[in-house]
């Protein structure tokens, strides 16, 4: 441990955001990289606990205290090596992870937690800047072929690990570019797409084949997949959004958040210009939509949430080290707009296009409180109500995979679906969740697939075959 007293010497200090006035004029990243001296200070706050709850909370099991210590000791490269061992996409999680780890940080018990996410980002960006990250194609190839369907965090994590293990990996993506929700769901101001390109480029050099604009199961028949590949990993996410089935839903100007974000990420930069925007749904996706709307020049933005306003600090039923439901204010919220809590939307009004929302206040049991009805004007309504399950049509149907009660792909604990050589990971399997969980699942599925593939070949043969 570097500085024993670091946490008493330094307060938590987050990396600065660009000024609101400046940042809402563009789509570049809001957050600046932490400065190097600041990284040392912030890393020194880590106590390198004997029982690191951060490491426990992190789905990836990132060796947080270890790399904090290494950063403090200026051993950036070693820190990077450790980070790289558990996380194939630290530059993404370093920017877009909600950082469950920080809520479990021991310092958080009676002080401010360590800026773990930013430390992670500092390490990986330092590694890129120092040119430590070079393509390392595996020395040995097993000769086994795996198709990964879907290039979101789960698919990519899976592909990256399988490739390192020496298997030949092909990633199928129906969109024209790789990245899935990271490319199309997360706005640029949180994650610029060059960051993804940088990584994908590396992986290509390491030997992963990417087939974009190829909708596996549609453009590429299932039978072909099954015959060409020794195993499949399905990771196409959980894209069917929750709808709001109320009167007026058919009016124009009402969009699902993901469609809205995808358009923005594809370059549509004016959709909300001059419009009164209402975002229904108080989650992170909703917040992302707000940020986009700001940048598109929305006239006004209101975010509606049916749940009451969460507390600002932990309550006894959400004790440390759990990930609490407390009021989170994102950079998008900092940029303006209004948040309304305990509000239900009863109907949309308008002739062709949506013009108004009829809303009402609800009580703690989410029952409408009589006499609280009110109206809100709107030109653009975004439904950010979460996701239900993967799209059942196409691949799932073709393969005839068993689904669970919620409509997600059912697997064994080894990520194996009802079809023996087909595996699944990420939101598609576990339902809508966080980015890190998707990465975790991708990696775990890779291990399971490796196990599946290598148990059929003697270890000695596998390791003797050199490329």
């Amino acid at each position: 441990m570097g500085d024993l007293r670091g946490f008493l010497k330094f307060k938590r200090q987050e990396a600065p955001h660009r000024k609101v006035a400046e940042r809402i004029k563009d789509f570049h990243e809001v957050a600046l990289l932490p400065s190097i001296p600041q990284s040392y200070e912030q890393a020194s706050r880590c106590m390198d606990c004997g029982t690191p709850f951060c490491h426990w909370a992190c789905p990836l099991g990132n060796f947080i205290p270890e790399w904090n210590d290494l950063v403090f000791n200026r051993l950036w490269k070693k820190a990077f090596e450790l980070l790289d061992a558990t996380n194939p996409l630290p530059e993404v999680t370093g920017r877009a992870c909600p950082a469950i780890c920080e809520y479990a940080c021991v310092l958080g018990i009676n002080d401010e937690p360590v800026t773990i996410r930013e430390n992670e980002l500092a390490i990986i960006e330092r590694a890129f800047a120092s040119n430590w990250i070079k393509p390392h194609p595996p020395k040995l190839r097993t000769g086994k072929k795996v198709a990964v369907v879907g290039s979101g965090p789960a698919g990519l994590a899976c592909a990256a690990r399988l490739n390192q293990m020496g298997h030949d990996v092909t990633v199928f993506e129906r969109d024209d570019q790789i990245g899935g929700i990271m490319r199309y769901g997360i706005p640029d101001f949180k994650l610029e797409k060059r960051i993804l390109d940088r990584r994908i480029n590396l992986w290509e050099k390491e030997g992963i084949k990417f087939k974009t604009s190829t909708n596996a199961g549609v453009d590429y028949p299932v039978s072909k997949l099954l015959s060409e590949f020794d195993a499949l990993c399905l990771a196409t996410g959980c894209r069917v959004p929750r709808d709001l089935k109320i009167p007026g839903r058919q009016l124009k100007g009402i969009h699902f958040a993901m469609d809205y974000l995808i358009r923005a990420n594809r370059g549509e930069r004016k959709e909300a210009q001059g419009k009164k925007v209402i975002v229904i749904g108080g989650g992170d996706t909703g917040a992302d939509c707000i940020g986009v709307a700001h940048r598109q020049g929305a006239a006004s933005i209101i975010q509606l949430e049916i749940l009451p306003q969460p507390p600002t600090t932990r309550t006894t039923d959400q004790p440390w080290p759990t990930y609490p439901k407390i009021l989170k204010t994102s950079s998008s919220h900092e940029e303006g707009g209004k948040r309304l809590w305990s509000v239900t939307t009863k109907k949309f009004l308008g002739t062709e296009k949506v013009e108004k929302l009829v809303c009402a206040k609800v009580d703690a049991q989410l029952r409408e409180i009589p006499g609280t009805e009110f109206e809100l004007e709107a030109d653009l309504v975004i439904l950010a109500l979460g996701f239900l399950h993967p799209e059942p049509k196409g691949l799932l149907e073709e393969l005839g995979l068993e689904l669970d009660a919620k409509g997600n792909v059912k697997t064994s604990k080894d990520y194996q679906t009802s079809y023996k050589k087909v595996f699944s990971a990420g939101d598609m399997r576990r339902g809508p969740s966080l980015l890190v969980w998707a990465i975790y699942e991708g990696q775990q599925a890779a291990k399971a697939i490796d196990q599946y593939l290598t148990s059929s070949i003697p270890a000695s043969c596998a390791s003797n075959k050199k490329t």
Binding site: F7, T51, N73, V106
Partner: protein
């Protein structure tokens, strides 16, 4: 003899039951002799011997049956006149004195078996050509001996054997008697007799005879009627009273043996026996005690022609290695003999005789007391105590003591006492040892430099590291701290990971072994402060024949330290001088098809053993076992396995001493690894991969040092660590530690033990060769499969991908959540996480299962409130945890009626009377804050012998952590470092512990006295001794516990689980019918109701909680206790951090209610209504076969589940024997003072049997008047005579003791304000400043007061003095050790190692000879000239000294003060001076050092 008796005896023949094993019996005792210097024989000498024996009776012990002693006996010259008389009436024709041999023979009571034995005597004697003169029935009166003794009582007959004519010398006759005795013993041992165990030859000699048996000191002379006959005469009477921890004391183990009587313990016994075997010398009778074994070898050496003194100096050499003052010849003598005899190491006071000469010797560290008086009429009395005979003071010529490593020697034929120096000079000038050494001995450091051949790895370094199981933690937590600071790494909060055999992950074989440690029966050594007795030297190479004495015997390679650099190894490898040559044997196995099976492992071991054997036969002098060049297809066998196998193979072939074994291995990295390798026979070790790893750290920038410096630091740390492990076991030298196998295996199968670790206990069996092979292969394969980063390790820091911990984020969070919400359901979730370890078996108990019985409704089970009274929290000192945490725990325990514990370090007196008081007041080795007031305010006084995290080790609280408040509660100075010694310096043996229990009971008769022990093999027999020593409660701690800071290797590798220790203790106590008089408590990682239910079933009626209590109060296992950096304010003294403490008493109250409730549920399920009914019901437990992990399939818990019949829990109280102490009279006499504060002046007579005089009186004073006590001299007692041990212990303020005469050990222990004046009897005319007045370890832990001692004190005067002002006229070794305050004036000779660990206080030495500086340990002190204020103080104290004691020395100095003051040297602790100068009170400091304070 009835059949029941016969059965009992038959049972005792195979003395193994459950976990009890007789190998671990310990003995300790009173020893001594009475002799006439001129060799004048008389019956009076025998009478005096018997009288002395009785006066030592309190040092012996009795078991459950008060009439059965542990053994007593005497050894005298053959009383020819008497035997002539009795033989005449027996019609045995006795030749002249010296022409016949005789001895008492213990025979089977069964007449036919007895006859069979006697026939063998006849046969063997005839074959040896010796004439059997006859048998005589020894007249005995067994009417008064105890039941147990009677059951095993042999028929005792005396044999007379005639000398053959052609035998000319006495020694030849002795040899032939020896030969015939050995022969008879062997023959009878091979017979199939039902009563074979009765047979024993006490002695067979033409010079000496012994009378002994399973008797008390008082019974001996009544039993053997011979002893009362006035014509039974001898000039020598060697005596012994035994105190054994034995479960079954036996007749044959009573002492004296043929040549000696021993008080102490041979710690290195296992190794000594093995080395004798390795030499092919079979003289050791199996089944003997350590003392009996020593006697066997001593006898062998003496009969082979060495003199008594010579033989003794070989076996028990003094600490010559680091002694700069020793004579050169003597040093050479020791060095020469070290080449072929390893020391028999351990505390020892030994008296020995061959019937002509008689002597006594003390171990190198002076760990047993031995006082002697020489009278003007030629009587010498040597004994563990002075005062065993009433000698008129005017008749005393000399009052002395045996000094460490010194010898007292009498030649009764020449009629003179030969001084230590003289007798040693005589022996050491026998041969030109120095020349022999010069010609033959090689020094490693002087061999020609040889460049190390480059250790090139065929594979990438990371893979090799992984192949040997290196983890990131090994680098970060083990190697880095050692390489950086040269010190062993420190950690906190115990161990909660699976035992190696249970772990799902491949483990290094080292992890299956636990270090044993000294507790109670012998002391751990402070290898830092008492460095002068320690040595790491090795003498490697072929050994000479023990029977010869040639120059070539010292043709050896002398190596100062056992961990070799690469370069040093090459020097040895290329050595060719003196026919030295090395053979390197590879321990690799070539993998084919990735297979490595059990057979492959065994075959390879055999291949290696055979190669080693052949190499020796080919004349190789060094065997280098090497695991170099591991690669994907070459796997290394576990080096420890190989070392043990080769060592034992060579012992069996009697070849082991023909070559040195050198280990060249990638495996060892921690001290534990090195200690194991050497403990199982390795001579030297080259850990090349550890060096590589350090170099790697250096290259990578993890270390700021260059590789060479870092490696040197590392070697220093390892050497320190090895010394520490030696010293924990009470062993001083590496050469006697080597092969001593001071380990217990946990989870290894018998086949492995038998082949590689023969003699090592392994009580639950476990992994065999198959599992070891699999584990080795797994590790190897993993290393070559992936290659990205090293594994996490996860031992010292919890990691998701690594070893399981019971305290993990989920369990910690669940527990904290449950207690804060007072939510039992949530607690049950927590309990489930702990109790159900089916996926990750961690503890032994995780594999237990409750049997199905008839459940009862929970309402019928006794209520929670009853159960709560059985709860205790562990000894966590204020100092190790914050005041907030400490007080919160105390409040909670007071709320529920349980007991909290002060821990070592005292308690703020303001807490004594309110809800913050701790019911249990601990007394630890540092004695910090152990005042009379502290003791009288206890409900329970706990003697901490060991603690789970670091048994056998001391601690240190660095000055910067000693805040005002800590200094106040510890009665020391803020800012001055506090050291807790490894041993209690008043407990070097079991009878010493009994004495301390007696002391404490006297101070506070109402408090129960408990003794805290740590689980290890033999703890049951130690507990037996403790129960015999009248403890009220015995606490068995598991080795995994520990909330304080400790060396990481100790946390993991020392101490065993409480399941084993508790079961062993309970079984042993029940077996011996002692269980009903002592309560048992268990602690060490207790967490849930299931844990305590199991503890109850295994025998505990109380349970202690430590870590769980801290977690309840907010601890989240940062494991930073040692850094003072606890962010939750629990284990810190930092005020800023302590304010963050958020624990509340209610949380603990909730927790304990939950635990009790869970226990009740289990009780209901088991159909048990009360806890008492539950205790010892192991029959309700069984092994949960379904969840045994893969390595543990052969685990065998049957020994744990063995249930002896008899009372299973405590129902009565101990008789502490305090009803008759002198203090009752003192209290009566002091009534006017106690009631009205009036002056009391009385005179009394005192004897050595009056022990602990003054403690009870002091307790009364303090109870009435508090710590302030009474005005000076209010109660004034003048005593005349020889005071027993602990005279004036905890003497309170207002009491003055004046003693005209002498005193024994422990004078003024814990003195809290009283005054003690001692001077020799006014009738005595010997010079006081040259004679001993008081014994060893005096004023230990003194708090305050005054002492004036005219005469010399023994070893360790004023040890750990906090504030006493004392004057004395000379001291032995280690004076003022660990002193933290007070003033001491010494007016005469000072022993070695003065002021070691002295961090405070001031000593003034009157150094007329000018040699003081050489004797002072200058590590922590500097020598100065006294200043004016010092002179004033000296004058004042000397003035008092003269006034009180009429000291002529004091008078002389006072009369010439201005001149004499110049001879005074001021001994000033460096830190103390700084603190005084700076008036440094409590400075907030940014600097944080690692500390280890329990």
């Amino acid at each position: 003899m009835g059949s029941a008796q016969a059965k009992g005896v038959a049972m005792k023949k195979d003395k193994r039951y459950g976990l009890y094993h007789p190998q671990f019996e310990r003995g300790s005792c009173g020893v001594g002799f009475v002799a006439n210097v001129k060799g004048k024989k008389s019956h009076e000498i025998v009478e005096k011997g018997l009288e002395a024996l009785k006066r030592l009776a309190h040092r012996g012990a009795v078991g459950a049956d008060p009439q059965t002693g542990d053994g007593a006996g005497i050894l005298i010259q053959i009383p020819h006149e008497y035997f002539e008389k009795v033989c005449f009436s027996e019609k045995i024709k006795l030749p002249q004195a010296g022409s016949y041999g005789t001895g008492l023979i213990f025979l089977p009571p069964n007449p036919s078996e007895r006859q069979l034995c006697k026939d063998i005597f006849s046969k063997c004697l005839a074959e040896e050509g010796l004439n059997l003169l006859g048998w005589r029935k020894v007249p005995i009166d067994d009417s008064h001996i105890g039941k147990t003794a009677k059951e095993t009582q042999p028929a005792i007959e005396q044999i007379f054997i005639e000398k053959r004519k052609e035998i000319n010398s006495q020694i030849e006759f002795e040899r032939s008697l020896y030969a015939v005795r050995r022969r008879i013993e062997k023959e009878i041992r091979s017979l199939n007799l039902e009563q074979k165990s009765f047979f024993y030859i006490t002695n067979l000699s033409s010079c000496t005879i012994s009378y002994k048996g399973l008797l008390t000191s008082f019974q001996l002379e009544k039993f053997f009627l011979d002893l009362n006959d006035p014509s039974l005469k001898s000039a020598i009477c060697l005596i012994h009273a035994r105190y054994s921890t034995n479960t079954f004391p036996t007749w044959d183990l009573a002492q004296p043996f043929r040549f000696l009587a021993h008080n102490g313990e041979i710690n290195t016994l296992r190794g000594n026996i093995n080395w004798m075997k390795a030499r092919g010398i079979e003289v050791i009778v199996p089944g003997g005690s350590d003392s009996a074994t020593l006697d066997n070898v001593f006898e062998f050496l003496v009969l082979s022609g060495r003199s008594l003194a010579h033989a003794m100096m070989m076996l028990i050499p003094e600490a010559w290695e680091n002694n700069r003052l020793i004579d050169k010849n003597l040093r050479n003598f020791y060095l020469y003999h070290a080449c072929f005899m390893e020391p028999w190491d351990g505390p020892a006071a030994i008296a020995f005789t061959d019937g002509k000469d008689i002597g006594a010797v003390l171990d190198r560290n002076g760990l047993r007391p031995a006082r002697y008086l020489i009278t003007k009429d030629d009587l010498v009395i040597m004994a563990s105590e002075v005062g065993v005979l009433d000698i008129p003071p005017e008749n005393i010529k000399l009052s002395g003591r045996l000094e460490p490593g010194k010898m007292l020697y009498l030649d009764t034929e020449k009629g003179k006492i030969i001084e230590n120096d003289e007798i040693k000079e005589e022996v050491s000038s026998r041969q030109p040892w120095g020349e022999w050494l010069k010609e033959n001995m090689l020094e490693l450091s002087q061999l020609p430099h040889t460049p190390p051949h480059f250790k090139e790895f065929k594979e990438d370094k990371l893979k090799v590291l992984k192949a040997f199981g290196y983890t990131r933690e090994d680098l970060k937590f083990i190697l880095k701290p050692m390489a950086e600071k040269g010190k062993e790494p420190i950690g906190s909060m115990g161990n909660d990971t699976p035992h190696a055999v249970l772990s799902q992950r491949p483990q290094l074989l080292y992890n299956y072994f636990k270090q044993l440690f000294a507790q109670v029966t012998n002391p751990a050594i402070d290898h830092i402060r008492e460095e002068l007795v320690m040595s790491l030297e090795s003498y490697v190479g072929p050994q000479g024949d023990l029977l010869e004495e040639t120059p070539e015997h010292c043709r050896k390679l002398r190596v100062k330290e056992p961990i070799l650099t690469n370069e040093e190894l090459e020097r040895i490898r290329s050595l060719r001088k003196h026919n030295f040559k090395s053979k390197t044997i590879s321990v690799l196995f070539e993998l084919k098809n990735q297979k490595f099976e059990k057979e492959d492992l065994i075959d390879t071991l055999e291949r290696i053993c055979k190669e080693a054997e052949e190499a020796i036969q080919e004349g190789y002098s060094f065997i280098i076992l090497s695991d170099q060049e591991v690669d994907e297809t070459h796997l290394a066998l576990p080096m420890l396995l190989v070392t043990g196998a080769v060592h034992h193979h060579l012992i069996r072939k009697a070849l082991r001493t023909k070559a040195g074994i050198i280990i060249e291995s990638a495996e060892p990295r921690e001290t534990h690894h090195f200690a194991l390798l050497i403990g199982y026979g390795a001579d030297l070790i080259n850990p090349y991969l550890a060096y590589e790893a350090i170099a790697y750290l250096s290259e990578e920038g993890d270390l700021t040092l260059d590789a060479k410096t870092a490696i040197n630091h590392y070697r220093k740390a390892i050497h320190e660590g090895i010394l520490k492990i030696l010293s924990k076991m009470g062993i001083s030298t590496l050469s006697s530690y080597r092969g001593a196998q001071i380990f217990e295996a946990l989870g290894l199968a018998e086949e492995v033990i038998a082949k590689c670790f023969e003699g090592t206990p392994s009580r639950i069996q476990g992994a065999g060769f198959k599992e070891i092979a699999k584990e080795t292969l797994l590790r190897h394969q993993q290393a070559f499969r992936e290659n990205r980063i090293l594994d996490s390790g996860g031992i010292y820091q919890w990691k998701k991908d690594s070893e399981f911990h019971l305290w993990n984020p989920a369990s910690i969070a669940a527990l904290q959540d449950a207690v804060r919400k007072n939510d039992y359901a949530r607690y049950k979730e927590f309990a489930q996480l702990i109790n159900d370890q089916s996926k990750n078996p961690t503890t032994l108990r995780s594999l237990f299962k409750f049997k199905k019985t008839n459940p009862i409704p929970k309402e019928e089970v006794e209520p929670v409130e009853n159960i709560l009274k059985r709860f205790a929290t562990g000894a966590m000192s204020f100092g190790s945890i914050s005041a907030q945490a400490h007080e919160t725990i105390a409040r909670a325990m007071n709320l529920i009626g349980g007991r909290s514990n002060t821990g070592e370090g005292g308690e703020d007196p303001s807490r004594f009377k309110d809800d913050r008081r701790s019911a249990v007041k601990q007394v630890a080795s540092g004695r910090f804050g152990v005042t009379t007031n502290y003791l009288v305010n206890a409900d329970e006084i706990q003697i901490k012998i060991a603690q789970g995290a670091k048994p056998g080790e001391g601690g240190q609280l660095p000055g910067h952590k000693v805040s005002l408040i800590i200094a106040k509660t510890r009665y020391t100075t803020p800012g001055v470092t506090l050291i807790s010694p490894p041993p209690h310096h008043d407990i070097y043996s079991i009878e010493d512990l009994a004495q301390l229990i007696f002391d404490l009971k006297n101070v506070n008769p109402k408090a129960r006295i408990s003794v805290k022990l740590v689980s290890e093999i033999g703890v049951g027999t130690i507990a037996m001794g403790v129960a015999k020593g009248h403890a009220d409660m015995i606490l068995i701690s598991g080795g995994d516990g520990g909330t304080g800071a400790s060396p990481l290797s100790s946390i993991r590798h020392a101490g065993l689980p409480w399941e084993l220790g508790l079961a062993e203790t309970h079984q042993t106590l029940v077996l011996n019918n002692l269980r009903n008089r002592v309560r048992l408590q268990a602690d060490g990682q207790m967490r849930t109701g299931r844990d305590i239910a199991i503890a109850a079933l295994l025998g505990a009626e109380e349970w202690g909680f430590c870590t769980s209590a801290l977690i309840v109060l907010g601890c989240v296992m940062l494991r930073h206790c040692h850094l003072n950096n606890c962010s939750v304010g629990v284990a810190t003294q930092d005020e800023v951090l302590a304010r963050r403490f958020a624990g509340r008493p209610e949380y603990l109250v909730n927790y304990f209610h939950f635990v009790a409730e869970e226990l009740r549920e289990i009780m209901a399920q088991l159909g048990i209504r009360s806890v008492d009914e539950m205790i010892g019901r192991v029959d309700l437990l069984e092994t949960n076969e379904e969840i045994l992990p893969w390595k543990a399939k052969n685990l065998d818990y049957s020994k744990i589940f063995w249930k002896p019949e008899g009372p299973q829990f405590c129902t009565t109280t101990q008789d502490h024997g305090i009803a008759e102490v002198l203090d009752h009279k003192l209290i009566e006499l002091a009534q006017p003072a106690l009631e009205k504060g009036e002056l009391v002046r009385e005179e009394l007579v005192i004897k050595n049997v009056n022990r602990t005089t003054g403690a009870m009186l002091s307790g009364e004073v303090v109870k009435k008047y508090g710590e302030e006590g009474l005005p000076e001299d209010t109660i004034y007692f003048k005593f005349k005579g020889v005071a027993g041990q602990s005279f004036g212990a905890w003497l309170a303020k207002g009491i003055t003791f004046e003693l005209e005469g002498m005193a024994n050990d422990y004078v003024g222990k814990g003195i809290s304000g009283g005054k003690i004046i001692i001077y020799p009897d006014k009738q005595a005319d010997y010079p006081s400043e040259k004679n001993i007045t008081i014994g060893n370890t005096t004023f230990y832990g003194a708090i305050s007061g005054e002492a004036y001692i005219r005469g010399v004190a023994g070893e360790r005067f004023c040890i750990r003095n906090s504030g006493l002002y004392a004057v004395v006229e000379g001291v032995g070794d280690h004076g003022c050790e660990y002193m933290t305050g007070g003033r001491v004036i010494i007016l005469g000779e000072v022993g070695r190692n003065f002021a070691a660990g002295m961090s405070g206080g001031i000593a003034y030495i009157y150094d007329k000879t000018g040699n003081f500086e050489k004797k002072c340990n200058l590590t922590m002190v500097e020598l100065e000239k006294p200043k004016k204020e010092d002179e004033n103080l000296i004058w004042k104290l000397l003035h008092n000294h003269y006034r009180y004691t009429s000291s002529s020395t004091a008078k002389n100095i006072l009369d010439n003060f201005t001149k004499e003051i110049k001879h005074f040297i001021k001994v000033m602790p460096i830190e103390y001076r700084r603190v005084l100068q700076e008036k440094l009170i409590l400075e907030e400091k940014e600097e944080f050092m690692e500390v280890s304070d329990g």
